[in-house]
């Protein structure tokens, strides 16, 4: 018990070091946490379940913000063509966007870290294979690769997660390999070898914990990137299915109505998307800055 308490203290110390005295980063962090909480508790927060067709009334379609609906509630952000409350759609869309991005980045990073460590530790053909695969991936425009994959596998939440995993593993593998190579030249790795430890133990208990830091630092940036990529793909119509709209798909839905003055259908999901990515990026910037001793503003 005591141990966890002290771990918590360490985390608190790191967090206060990272964020104190940087109001932009604090606001970003608070904003991000609000988005996450809203997404997690969507069913209790959203005024309407946008997936439940029984609650929708086509007569409420295309109402502007603050309009009263047929059942007496207020649509704060208006409704779309099917009479869905935009606020509720955005809250549920946020949920899908965050879920897809988090799962894709976590799985992709895990994959990248393992491959990077293997490449560094094994060398030889393993390293060649992994690093050429990284080169191949990096030399391809990401969105094009994802479009191709989705064209082959079809669309769906799981498919877009696969596509985003393919998009995120490569730079993590490269980063992990380079920091693992630095660690491998240090003497404690030699000491571990002299102690007759297996490669697996050296990798998991010596190499991994010491070479993972740079990847963790760029993780928030990857998440915001994945959110953007998912929105792009969904906007293009190859992302999530219409029954599980993400922010990108909601923007696409309203796209047809923009020119006829029904701005609210696209603009609100768009604003939330911008706000979310901005919050994450501000936090990510600060984390990167704090961890980079060469930047003067470290404090």
């Amino acid at each position: 018990m005591k141990k966890y308490y002290s771990k918590f203290n360490t985390m608190k110390r790191i967090a206060s070091g990272t964020f104190s005295g940087h109001p932009a980063a604090i606001i970003g962090l608070i904003g991000f946490l609000i988005f996450v909480i809203v997404a997690i508790f969507a069913p209790w927060i959203a005024p309407q379940n946008p997936y439940d067709l029984m609650t929708l009334d086509i007569m409420d379609g295309l109402l502007p913000p603050m309009a009263k609906l047929g059942n007496g509630t207020t649509a704060w952000l208006g409704t779309d063509a099917l009479g869905r409350d935009i606020l509720s759609s955005v809250i549920y869309g946020l949920r899908i966007s965050l879920f897809v991005a988090f799962v894709a980045v976590i799985v992709g990073s895990f994959l990248g870290i393992i491959l990077g460590l293997l490449a560094a530790l094994k060398g030889g053909w393993v390293e060649t294979l992994v690093m050429r695969a990284v080169d191949l991936k990096v030399s391809f425009p990401g969105i094009l690769l994802a479009l191709m994959m989705l064209a082959i596998f079809g669309t769906g939440v799981d498919k877009i997660i696969y596509a985003l995993i393919i998009g995120t593993w490569a730079n993590k593998a490269r980063l992990t390999r380079s920091s693992a190579l630095t660690e491998m030249s240090k003497e404690y790795i030699d000491a571990a070898k002299l102690a007759g430890l297996s490669n697996w133990r050296v990798m998991m208990h010596f190499l991994l914990p010491n070479s993972i830091a740079p990847v963790l630092v760029i993780l928030p940036m990857s998440i915001s990137g994945a959110i953007g990529a998912e929105a792009t793909l969904s906007f293009l119509g190859v992302g999530v299915p219409i029954t599980e709209p993400s922010l990108g798909l909601l923007i696409a839905n309203g796209n047809d109505y923009l020119l006829s003055g029904k701005w609210w259908i696209s603009i609100f999901p768009g604003l939330v998307l911008v706000g979310l990515v901005l919050c994450i990026n501000v936090v990510a910037d600060r984390i990167r800055e704090y961890n980079n001793p060469y930047l003067k503003s470290r404090g």
Binding site: E187, Y188, D190, A191, L194, A195, H205, N210
Partner: protein, 561 residues
């Protein structure tokens, strides 16, 4: 007295969090024209801070608490930056610790020298170039004109330092501040560089403020000495008095800890040192090892014509390159014996050790450990098992411990992984071993960053001891440490060796350390063993000219009692 530099009551602090940590307190230094003044102390003593303060190059957050610095009658502390710039380089030259990083890698030597000459003198163009060549010649740089077109990476560290010296004296300064000018260099190079520096300063009447931790260098160079500790001045006086007849307790300790080359001392005098006797638990553990079945007449370890060639494979643009790190090295280590390997950097000392330990493959040759040829094992695993009693103490205490494990885990992790001890025993054993190497038992739960360099090295020793080793390879174990810490560690290693009849192969570039530690000595040069013999043979009656030149180059402290 006629002085060019006067430092009076200087106090400097650095903010750490909300507190201020004093880096220097009440420092008084006077330097007369053409005087060589040494500022000595161990790491953290504030030596470099003095040099930086004189030049106005302190870190931005440094707080000057008191005192003043006067150079040629001008107050340096209240001077504007523009004025300081005109003094730096012109009236005060600076020589850096690492010549390779002090020079700009993308400019040729000529461009850098001429730039400095044009900035600080009236010479321009062709005249500046001619002056640069003249300076290089004065600094004993061979083929001076040719060097002007070279880049720093094409030259050796010693040559680069000569060029830095030439730049420093180019404007005929009154004072040169030399911050550990030879620490990064080999002893034979160090000797020549110091000679050049002294010669030039005599010629041009330049005073030197020599900042160093090396007592030998100080003894050879300095007229007057200031001893610093924890930012305070401990002792000052003419160099000979301070070195050979120190008054203060700390100076006495410091001088007693300096390894001697002219005779083999029995033991360094370290106040407050505990003997390892009486640390029963760890001693019982270490004595409780299987009695090996080897024939005690045979050496525990022998190497026959070891060769290691590093090959850079050919690429499209470059043919294959071979580098012979070690060739034809044969030697043996008897049970309970310490054998030293000395040589300058690049002589292949560490490579030999790495081959013995199986961290490098052999290009050719044979290593026999406890009667078995290490190449005979079918698998890597079996070989490792056989050689578990062969351990290493590494050079760099800052990278030799896993930073994510506590000290105790670092010591016992491998034993646990092999199932040699249980978890509850591990913690106990870690504590015992920590106590044996002179660390508090309770510190076993701290992470490596909480320890100093010397303490980390003790943890490294404890980790090696955990395997109940028969043979220890020590790869410059004290080269990163202060001299008093070095003395403690060398004492500890010798005690351990006597107690457990350990065999050791001890690599060092410092002949004095090898003189203290070793029964027999191997001298290496460019991958070849040039001479081997007993301690007395090598140090008192060296046969090979290289050994003789190494010994002659070592700075000496002759007459300390």
């Amino acid at each position: 007295m006629n002085t060019i530099l006067t430092v009076k009551d200087l106090g400097i602090s650095y903010p750490v969090g909300k507190n201020e940590i004093p880096a220097l307190q009440a420092i008084r230094i006077d330097i007369a024209p053409a005087q060589v003044v040494g500022v000595v102390g161990e790491s953290g003593a504030g030596k470099s801070t003095i040099g930086k303060a004189v030049l106005g190059l302190l870190d931005q957050n440094a707080i000057i608490k008191s005192g003043h610095i006067e150079f040629l009658g001008q107050n340096m502390l209240s001077m504007k930056e523009a004025k300081l710039e005109s003094i730096r380089g012109k009236d005060i030259g600076y020589i850096y610790q690492n010549p390779m990083t002090a020079l700009n890698p993308v400019l040729t030597i000529g461009e850098q020298m001429i730039e400095a000459i044009e900035a600080n003198t009236n010479l321009r163009g062709k005249k500046a170039r001619d002056y640069a060549i003249e300076l290089l010649e004065q600094a004993d740089v061979p083929e001076a004109e040719d060097r002007l077109t070279k880049y720093p990476h094409q030259l050796s560290g010693g040559l680069c330092q000569r060029i830095v010296i030439a730049i420093a004296i180019s404007a005929k300064p009154k004072l040169i501040i030399a911050d550990e000018p030879t620490t990064a260099l080999d002893v034979t190079v160090q000797k020549a560089i110091l000679n050049t520096l002294t010669k030039l300063c005599r010629q041009h009447d330049v005073a030197i403020m020599l900042i160093t931790h090396d007592m030998g260098v100080v003894a050879e160079m300095c007229d007057y000495l200031y001893v610093l500790r924890y930012g305070k001045q401990v002792e000052q006086g003419p160099a000979n008095d301070v070195i050979y007849n120190p008054q203060e307790a700390y100076s006495k300790q410091l001088m007693a800890a300096v390894p001697r080359i002219d005779k083999r001392v029995e033991r360094f005098v370290v106040p407050g040192e505990e003997s390892i006797q009486g640390k029963h638990a760890a001693l019982t553990y270490l004595h409780d090892k299987e009695q090996s079945t080897r024939n005690s007449l045979q050496p525990i370890l022998s190497a026959e014509s070891l060769c290691k060639t590093f090959i850079t494979p050919a690429t499209m643009f470059r043919p294959k390159k071979e580098f012979k790190a070690v060739s034809g090295a044969s030697f043996y280590v008897n049970e309970g014996e310490t054998v030293g390997i000395v040589g300058e950097s690049g002589s292949g000392k560490s490579t030999i050790g790495r081959m013995l330990l199986g961290l490098h493959d052999l290009t050719s040759g044979k290593v026999t450990y406890r009667g078995k040829d290490l190449a005979e094992f079918a698998t890597e695993k079996e070989r490792r098992k056989h050689s578990l009693s062969m351990q290493c103490i590494f050079q760099d205490p800052y990278s030799s411990l896993n930073p994510r494990m506590s000290a105790g885990q670092n010591i016992t992790y491998a034993l646990q992984a092999h199932g040699m001890i249980k978890e509850h025993e591990a913690s106990e054993l870690a504590g015992d071993l920590m106590a044996l190497v002179g660390l508090p038992r309770a510190d076993k739960d701290k992470k490596p960053y909480a320890f100093s360099g010397g303490e980390r090295q003790r943890i490294g020793i404890a980790r090696a001891l955990a395997f109940r080793p028969d043979f220890l390879f020590c790869d410059e174990p004290t080269s990163a440490l202060d001299v008093s810490v070095q003395a403690e560690l060398l004492n500890l290693l010798r005690d351990l060796q006597k107690q457990f009849n350990l065999s050791m192969l001890f690599v060092s570039h410092d002949l004095a350390v090898v003189r203290y530690m070793c029964d027999r000595v191997i001298v290496m040069k460019d991958g070849v063993i040039v001479e081997q013999g007993s301690n007395e043979q090598i140090f008192d009656d060296p046969q090979h000219p290289y050994t003789q030149s190494l010994l002659a180059a070592m700075p000496r402290l002759e007459n300390i009692a």
